[in-house]
Symmetry: none
Subunit: 349 residues, 2 copies
């Protein structure tokens, strides 16, 4: 399978972050060179890099870029700047828990290095960012291995949005399951929802699966029900952006609808996500804030205006799928099934 390098740190501590500009796919494969923090902030904000793990990795490398200017300065100035950079990056996508997790990890690592020369702290923080990156790669592979056991040769599967290699270091979460199943010789018929408004399914998932040589069919979001009804789907797997202590899972708008449709057709609905996606501080999905996005994503989404001037638009970025609709959550440590507060605490806590 062709390898996708979503994010790549080029060089040493004075190097740069190279990332695939996912807004240019699927017609152009353009790699952006990020040499400063605002470029990383803008890339996260504008979804040039997206997907919880990839955002976390990008933010960690973003911190390293921010420290290039202050490596060598006094410790107080260095740490002050570190916290400023982290606070700034945290404003790029306020719903993305991995963003905060990665920034917190970088700050915590820095604290353990107090007393060392700031050039060394900067170098060690780059190692930490690289470790976050490498651990994500290994974690995705583990998710894929656990999830692949749930699928059989010849099955049809459906996914929504993009929880693929582009969203992570390499394999993705939901797509890792497909990639590993394929490595094991299981032939899957994969249906990809195009995922309006930003068409991550059409632009990214279809591109990634096609590039990897898997059998993928693109459908409109509204066709998922019909495809299920025709008996083409034996499992639905999506990623998640944030999972509450009881298993309620926030993910791209439309995921909840797909889960309801799967239940109505007796098809198991799975979430594939690393344990870092769990936020055990929130009891249920009701506490997850839902980001509202620009109406123009819907009214002007294809480079052409497709709705009347001034029309009201409701454009939530996410919805929350209640735990009762989720047959299992696949994480890097194993499969949580059934999805209960106790099972989650046992695996994640």
């Amino acid at each position: 399978m062709a390898k996708i390098e979503t994010l790549q740190w080029i060089g040493a501590a004075d190097g740069r972050l190279q990332m695939i500009d996912q807004t240019r796919l699927p017609t152009e494969l353009i790699e952006i060179q990020c040499r400063d923090v605002p470029t990383v902030w803008e890339a996260i904000k504008m979804l040039r890099v997206r997907g919880a793990p990839a955002i976390g990795i990008a933010a960690a490398y973003g911190v390293c870029l921010g420290l290039q200017a202050v490596a060598g300065r006094d410790e107080a100035g260095f740490f002050h700047h570190l916290h400023e950079v982290a606070a700034y990056l945290a404003t790029s996508r306020p719903t993305a828990v991995n963003l905060f997790w990665a920034l917190d990890r970088m700050k915590a690592k820095a604290e353990t290095l107090r007393g060392k020369p700031t050039t060394e702290i900067a170098a060690r923080l780059l190692d930490e960012a690289r470790a976050i990156h490498e651990q994500d790669r290994a974690m995705c592979r583990a998710i894929g291995e656990h999830g692949a056991k749930l699928l059989a040769d010849g099955q049809g599967v459906l996914t929504h949005c993009n929880a693929g290699g582009l969203a992570t270091a390499e394999y993705g979460t939901a797509l890792a399951v497909f990639f590993i199943a394929a490595e094991q010789g299981k032939r899957l018929s994969i249906y990809a929802d195009e995922t309006r408004p930003l068409l991550q399914g059409a632009r990214l998932t279809a591109w990634e699966l096609q590039k990897a040589g898997l059998d993928v069919t693109l459908i409109c979001d509204s066709t998922a029900a019909q495809v299920m009804r025709e008996g083409r789907i034996q499992a639905v797997i999506t990623g998640a952006d944030r999972i509450a202590a009881n298993g309620d899972s926030a993910n791209k708008i439309g995921t909840y609808g797909v889960a309801v449709l799967a239940a109505a057709h007796n098809i198991p609905f799975y979430i594939a996500a690393p344990t870092s996606t769990f936020d055990l501080s929130i009891a249920t999905g009701a506490e997850i804030p839902i980001e509202q996005r620009d109406p123009r994503e819907i009214t002007h989404g294809f480079g052409r205006q497709t709705a009347p001037d001034g029309v009201k638009v409701y454009n939530p970025a996410f919805d929350v799928t209640p735990a009762k609709l989720i047959a299992a959550i696949i994480c890097e440590r194993g499969v949580i099934r059934p999805v209960t507060r106790e099972a989650i605490a046992g695996m994640v806590g």
Copy 2:
């Protein structure tokens, strides 16, 4: 409410047909003045006028335009020309049943007028075209009046695709229910699915409702489930393209999914359609053939490529909603509820 005049005959027998160019919506409201038959032919061919009833009305007026040149001539020449014009208009959309129905009705009316002066026949045929137009208006209004009884002040409603005035003489079918409810002083919050791949909801339904001063909010198809879950929707109403004897209803792809979601949220799902939509010769929806459409509608919608080259696509034009998911079918004769073979035979047969 601002009235939408999809089609309008201006003047007497020597007048002209004015129509909204629907290919220019929603960004421009351009009215075409049809003064000859080729202009009407081109408008039907190029989907400037669309929707089965509206095409039939346009063709009937097109016949009247064709007769302007021969009114006053001898009967043989007049009838020869009438048949030529009708045959020519019939080639504009060879699959549109309402087109043939309207042309046949005009020819049959002409036959009953043989022996009268051809200027009088031409005038009476304009009356016939106006009658086709007026009968469609009255039928849609009756659908609206029956349906409006199902809605209460302050409710939220959802519709999919465009079953509005643009497809008919004035009120539409599903949208007629909203228009009449509004006339009765009921304030509705209407949610319009954008309806991929061709975005009839965004381009036409949102435009029509906004123009009429109704409260409309545009959403992505995949947001319907979330809007239901938030308690914003008390009824779903869509049109139908073909209804089997048992009530199974074919309509725009995505309708079936919306019906499943409505059932899961205990929201009544209604179909609004004239009795001419029933095809009692087919027992169930399983016999309704599903047209497959061009993959480029999904991969190259609206002038930009949004999916990778060569990706497989599944693009059915319609799906079939089983009768058991339909709380009622609203037609011009009343409300069929519950939707059973017997109730349908009683109302339509």
